[in-house]
Amino acid sequence: MGRSRRVTLRCATEDLAFDWTNPADLGNVTLLRELAQKAVGGDIPDSVVRKQLRLMPPLSQLRHPLILAFDDQFAGDDDAGTLRETISAVKDRQWFKQTYSARWRGAAIVLKDDDKETAWLGASGYHRQGSPEDFYEEFARRCQAGSGAYLPSDEDIAVRRIEVNVARLDSWKLQVHLTALVLLDAAVNNPENTQDAIVLSPDSIELLRMSMTVVHSDVGGVTTHELVIELVPVGWEYPRLCRLTAGIVTSAIDPQPEAWRCAPLLDNAESHWTVLTEEAMSAARAAADSGELAADVRPGEVRLGTVAHYSHRDHIAYASVHGEAIRAMCGHWFVPTTDHETKPKCATCQEQYANTPL
């Protein structure tokens, strides 16, 4: 683990103007800074900044030699056994020297926030061969009235806050996945009896009531286990979290979207129906017994596009361009992808297609 390492957006975009191992990272961090400033001003929502973060490595992994050297230097849990040279000419705070080869010089600082330490790379400069200028002297001159200008600013704090929220959302997804499996196990063991659980938002506000009912039925000597899930949102304020919950709960039980049918209930409530597989019931058993999930569980991950469905050619063309879902001949809704040629064809679709007179 170690403490977290970050480079300020100002340092990355202004001080580290060249020498990037991957110049695309400079373009991305420049764009990130513009968006972060807008987010601070309240002009754009966090989701826009998050979209940009998806496109780039974490801030401590931006591919510039000085950033990577800094990341390596501060990777330890603490400074026990590490000797760091401070920039003694700067008096108001303890800044550390950070160098890479004979050329790059930087100033790093360790800040404490809620008992968690973060190392920041706040300023840097390039030493030209033969030049009498020294970055550390220059830095000290610029800090004569205080080094506050090189500390992380609102834009840096905003990006960190959004990254923390992404991590909270990830652990919330795991919690929802686990809750779904534990509730399913209770429902399997109490057939015909509806089992309830309340799902909380990442802010611990009541988000929705989840109920599961399992019905065992005998069809020609074979026992099937039908499951109906009802998701009843407490209010209307969190539509995206509720929709996300539906995806996580259904994929936790059966990652094959074809296995599910959904239908609207009163107001914004919805129900989802499937026939349970042995795999789903044993996964629920294991989750209920241990109270935890396997490390490789990825909540919300579905097996999309494992079979190729038939639908009208014109509809497929339109939906592919617009990312919309269309209805296949078998009744399943799907967003078409381009690689259907290599996939096995849906048996129901194929049968209906064969029966259609042309």
Partner: protein
């Protein structure tokens, strides 16, 4: 609700139906009869329901493509209107079923899109908590 069992309708009779609708001008009636003959030729069983007619829960479940357990949950929630005949038998009016089916298909479409664009949905969910 009368059901036309495709396997019990001989092709000679379907041919008579076809010659009948060919005499009609383009319009709703011709389209309807054409759809029936296409379905029968394709071996699909066909239901013909009038607006005034009431459906039993099993018939409604079949038309919606859901299980009976699922349909009862839908009825219990109040999302699909129904009335009681006799002691406790439930009946569903055809216009209600058709309106409900449209809502159901819209939800299934949205759900498929949510799964295909899960990253976008997740990003937007970030704006819903502090």
């Amino acid at each position: 609700m009368p059901k036309l069992d495709a396997s019990n309708v001989p092709t000679t009779e379907i041919a008579v139906l076809e010659s009948a609708f060919h005499q009609l001008p383009d319009g709703a009636l011709r389209t309807t009869l054409e759809n029936i003959s296409l379905a029968l030729r394709g071996g699909q069983n066909t239901f013909v329901v009038s607006e005034k007619e009431d459906l039993t829960p099993s018939e409604a479940a079949k038309l919606l493509g859901v299980s009976r357990t699922h349909l009862y949950k839908i009825l219990d929630s109040g999302a699909l209107a129904h009335h009681i005949v006799g002691a406790r038998d439930r009946r569903i009016a055809v216009p209600d079923l058709i309106a409900y089916r449209a809502r159901m298909l819209a939800m299934q479409k949205r759900h498929a899109e949510d799964l295909a664009h899960a990253d976008d949905l997740e990003d937007l969910a970030l704006d819903e908590f502090d």
